[in-house]
């Protein structure tokens, strides 16, 4: 197949930046021509920033990665255990972005 499909979920207030929608399904190319590999999480983050983020870019990305204070889960696993931005996405993966930056 030429594209893969991943499910992206936003919570902790991040959904407000993405058209107030908590879950999105994203189609990405199966192979990125520049790297000859599949899309990784870094690619997904840039894709979301460029295509789905409706406002206030600085609340989602900083220094080309997610803003400190935003947790990323890959199939319910901490992205720090999966290689962070270098994790290569597979079809039907579920990625969750949770913001911790609000009152408790």
């Amino acid at each position: 197949m030429t594209t893969i499909s991943v499910k992206v979920e936003f919570s902790g207030g991040l959904e407000l930046l993405f058209s107030n929608q908590r879950t999105h399904t994203v189609e990405l190319p199966a192979i990125i021509s520049e790297t000859s590999k599949g899309p990784d999480l870094q690619y997904l983050i840039e894709y979301l920033r460029d295509n789905l983020l409706k406002e206030r870019v600085e609340l989602f990305v900083e220094n080309n990665t997610v803003r400190p204070g935003i947790l990323v889960l890959v199939n319910d696993t901490d992205w720090e255990l999966e290689g962070e931005g270098e994790y290569v996405l597979k079809n039907n993966d579920e990625i969750v972005f949770i913001s911790t930056l609000h009152g408790g």
């Binding site: 919570s11 902790g12 207030g13 407000l16 803003r67 400190p68 204070g69 947790l71 889960l73 319910d76 696993t77 901490d78 720090e80 255990l81 999966e82 290689g83 994790y87 969750v96 949770i98 913001s99 911790t100 930056l101 609000h102 009152g103 408790g104």
Partner: protein, 354 residues
């Protein structure tokens, strides 16, 4: 990257990397270590006695929701013998607080605890919306923080509880340490890392999550599917704490133990005797009886400024001089009702959760 096995049980797949220790652990081990660390914080400090009535400061946010859940779990698992209540403060912020209070009401059902809601309006006659329209968006957090602290004590006194617990986490306390250093506030720096505070005239107040990282609280809530409200207060974006928070998050990204290290530094600060001598002693407010460093407590000072149309009088020196130049407060000024510690008889009836 190959999937890793949990370092603790060596059995299940690791789902989470703990910022505090760097350990890679599975979900069930995570629940266990998180809950046990809070249990150890509580028991090592001997915070509670069997039969204590404890009010949980509940806002519907992530920290207080997880706190209510964990307090209930630990109370049952280790037989603390506590009677738990939810105490919530309505500051009167339309679109923020009214939504989060709905979450607290759901928490009441889910955790089966009595709930008391106390509002700024009934206590002070001013909602935060009204205060912000007078004061603007820069110093409004000062009003809210001061009013809320008193409101929690008053609510707890009305409920006749022995102890208040709040969901302040390690990140919050580290931010407070940084803020006090940045502002040179020695008096607060000495107090802000205390796990449990008690004065002669205040109710004991503790922070069981003092050593719990915010990231872990969020992961706990996520894995346990706990229901919480998560939006930034609409009036907070310009608050000073925001600067400390950004800085702290960057430190955490570079070295995750920084948060605990900052708390430890704050705890071990010692103030020279000559400096301590210049600090003001605690007294009681001449108007409402709450604890105070001056003749009037901060809440009464702020309220007088609001009532007399000079809101900045509690905030800046120039504002204070302007107020004093106006003469003494008029006799019919609205004031805060007198404060009394719990007497043994609750002055309000609580209905248990249906």
């Amino acid at each position: 990257m190959a999937p890793r096995t949990c370092t603790l049980c060596e059995n299940a797949k690791a789902m989470l990397k703990r910022p505090k220790t760097g350990q890679q652990i599975c979900r069930d081990c995570f629940f266990y270590v998180f809950e046990t660390e809070v249990h150890n914080t509580i028991t090592q400090a001997k915070l509670f006695q069997a039969g204590d009535k404890v009010a949980i400061g509940a806002s519907g946010g992530k920290d207080s929701t997880v706190l209510a859940h964990v307090m209930k779990t630990l109370n049952e698992r280790y037989n603390y013998g506590l009677e738990l209540f939810l105490l919530s403060i309505d500051e009167g912020i339309t679109g923020y607080r009214d939504d989060s209070l709905e979450t607290v009401k759901r928490n009441q059902q889910q955790y089966d605890m009595p709930l008391k809601i106390l509002s700024y309006d009934e206590l002070y006659g001013w909602t935060m919306d009204a205060i912000v329209s007078q004061v603007g968006r820069k110093n409004n957090c000062t009003f809210c923080g001061v009013f809320r602290r008193q409101a929690l004590d008053r609510g707890a006194a009305m409920l006749n509880v022995d102890h208040i617990v709040t969901g302040h986490n390690a990140d919050d306390i580290a931010e407070t340490v940084l803020m006090n250093i940045m502002r040179g506030d020695i008096a607060r720096l000495g107090r802000c890392t205390a796990l449990c505070t008690q004065g002669e005239d205040t109710i004991k107040r503790s922070k069981p999550f003092k050593y719990a990282y915010e990231k872990e609280i969020v992961m706990y809530a996520y894995f346990k599917k706990l229901d919480y409200f998560s939006t930034e207060c609409i009036y907070s974006p310009d608050a000073y704490r925001g600067h400390a928070r950004v800085f702290l998050k960057e430190l955490e990204a570079a070295r995750p133990s920084a948060i605990i290290d900052i708390i430890h530094s704050g705890e071990t600060f010692e103030v020279r005797e000559e400096v301590k001598a210049t600090q003001r002693l605690q007294q009681t407010c001449k108007r409402c009886g709450y604890i105070s460093s001056n003749d009037l407590c901060k809440a009464c000072t702020l309220l007088e400024g609001l009532e007399r149309g000079m809101a900045k009088s509690g905030i800046t020196d120039r504002g204070r001089k302007q107020l004093e130049a106006q003469g003494p407060a008029p006799d019919n000024l609205r004031t805060i009702p007198p404060f009394q510690l719990p007497s043994g008889n609750p002055s309000i009836a609580i209905e248990a959760a249906p």
